[in-house]
């Protein structure tokens, strides 16, 4: 099986700051792969580098066997790879209706049959056609994130890059969106590359994960290993303790 996304020795440098330091990650087709770490660990930068949104200074990116160079991506890339961002308030155009935002990717790629696709996409993310002509400010955070997912799915990509897709949402809404993501992955046999600071979310969604710190991948492990506590790095163990919540040191 070929890797859907394969990164080797990837580095991203902003002026003097090394945001990503020789990171290597392989994601198999059909797999759900997680990236965890604190803020500044480079996990979002890694996703952005794949999408051509970060200046790559060294290393190679291969998506479905094709090597990508520079920051330019062709249309075929965007047909295969779509991204969902963290903040549904910032990632939708505030003055365009949902319909308009869903038509745009179709128009760019010259895909007809918009009517059917839009209705299908909205239906798939659990929003009825009643939402089609609303504006983002008329929707709740969870509904907006569903629109962002619909917009990513409408081109029928094979790979989704998810950058903290639920961290701006309430816990109960997070559960709904995570369930939705699992459902579409099953239905469409998608590959997920998902970034989160929440180990609970990542172990729930992903079979394998990479732990990042200071721009480097410090550990790669499976969710089963993580759950069983088969952890090699102290940093990962710290994250694990932290995610269990506050414990009062009894006097």
């Amino acid at each position: 099986m070929t890797a859907a996304v394969s990164l080797e020795g990837l580095s991203v440098v902003y002026d003097d700051f090394r945001a990503l330091d020789t990171a290597s990650v392989d994601v198999e087709a059909g797999e759900s792969f997680g990236l965890v770490g604190e803020s500044g660990s480079g996990k979002s930068t890694l996703l952005r580098a794949i999408a051509g949104l970060a200046p790559v200074s060294a290393g190679t990116i291969r998506v479905e066997g094709r090597e990508l160079r520079g920051a330019r991506r062709d249309k075929a890339f965007y047909r295969a790879v779509q991204m969902v961002f963290q903040d549904p308030y910032g990632s939708l155009h505030p003055r365009q209706t949902i319909d308009r935002q869903l038509v745009e990717p179709l128009a760019i790629h010259g895909i007809g049959d918009g009517e059917r696709r839009i209705l299908k996409a909205l239906d798939e993310v659990g929003l009825g056609s009643g939402f089609r002509f609303r504006y983002p400010h008329q929707l709740s955070g969870g509904q907006r994130q569903r629109v962002a997912i619909a917009r990513a799915l409408i081109l029928e990509p094979s790979i989704l890059l998810l950058d903290e897709p639920t961290s701006a949402l309430d816990a109960s809404v997070q559960a709904e969106v995570l369930n939705l993501l699992e459902q579409v992955r099953r239905d469409r046999k998608l590959t997920f590359l998902m970034v989160s600071h929440d180990l609970g979310v990542v172990t729930h969604m992903c079979e394998r994960l990479a732990v990042m710190q200071g721009g480097r991948v410090v550990e790669r492990l499976t969710s089963t290993d993580l759950v069983a506590g088969r952890i090699a790095e102290d940093y990962t163990r710290n994250l694990m303790v932290a995610s269990k919540g506050f414990r009062r040191k009894s006097a």
Binding site: A171, S172, L178, T203, N238, G245
Partner: protein
């Protein structure tokens, strides 16, 4: 235990173009020198409850209550001068994000000193010394250096400790913490929480801890109020959380992905219209 704070039938209303929005609809509780958690989703009115006690409700909103009393002082009829004196001195509030709630053009030390000088007759050298001691108390390793730094020069965790220092330096009796760690990384969260926990215990303050994270609140507080649509739907001792009766509380507890639980799909909240009645 004598009540430090009494809240009875607190309501906060916002007039809008499309009618009056009632953000808090009849909240009642009393607080002694204990740790009380208020939990709910966005829009449940938890933050507005805290803000009303602090007196930080926007001026166009309307706050009413049968009784809103802090240590025998009726807060709603108190003149603005008295409320200003209370605010920062006897009631203090920690906000969510140090990036937005510290003054960006004033050094951290001066902001702490300002709190002291506002509320106490105190000399400059003495105020500086108290500020430095307070920074040391929130486990900032080099207080003298941090004293002269500006908020943009410190990390989120450090900024939040500076805010805790600023709020506690005048020795308040009631501390309202509105999502004090939500903007921080998980690993830093625990440090900040344990500092807060120690100081609250040492100084015998009353604490109102407002958060959306039910698990976090229950591990930190003695008692938890669960809010939904502006009302308290359940009050429960933190240790009894496993026996929560209200379906909303149970739903909030269940919907979090837990490491190793392997529940697919996750249980979701089935919101019943009667919860909001």
């Amino acid at each position: 235990m004598s009540a430090l704070l009494t809240v009875e039938d607190l309501r906060v209303r916002f007039p809008t173009r499309t009618g009056v929005v009632e953000a808090v609809r009849g909240v009642s509780f009393t607080l002694g020198r204990e740790r009380l958690g208020i939990v709910g989703e966005s829009g449940s009115g938890k933050s507005q409850t805290g803000r009303a006690i602090m007196g930080l409700t926007p001026p166009h909103a309307e706050v009413t209550a049968k009784r809103l009393a802090f240590d025998g002082i009726d807060l709603l009829s108190a003149p603005p001068k008295l409320r200003r004196d209370l605010r920062g001195k006897r009631i203090a509030m920690i906000l969510q994000d140090p990036k937005y709630s510290l003054n960006p053009v004033m050094s951290i030390g001066r902001q702490i000193v300002e709190t002291l000088q506002r509320h106490e007759k105190i000399g400059r050298a003495e105020a500086r010394k108290r500020a430095l001691d307070m920074l040391a108390a929130v486990q900032i390793r080099d207080p003298a250096r941090v004293f002269d730094l500006y908020p943009h020069e410190v990390s989120g965790g450090m900024g939040q400790r500076a805010m805790i220092a600023m709020m506690l330096v005048a020795g308040p009796e009631l501390l309202i913490a509105d999502e004090p760690t939500s903007a921080l990384d998980v690993t830093v969260q625990l440090e900040v929480l344990s500092i807060l926990d120690r100081l609250v215990a040492e100084r015998g303050m009353g604490l109102i801890f407002v958060s959306h994270d039910l698990r976090l609140v229950s591990s930190f507080c003695d008692r938890v109020l669960v809010m939904y649509a502006g009302k308290i739907v359940e009050e429960i001792a933190a240790s009894e959380l496993g026996n929560a009766k209200h379906p909303y509380t149970q739903g909030l507890l269940n919907c979090m992905p837990v490491i190793g639980a392997g529940r697919h799909p996750l249980p979701v909240l089935d919101r019943k219209p009667e919860w909001a009645l």
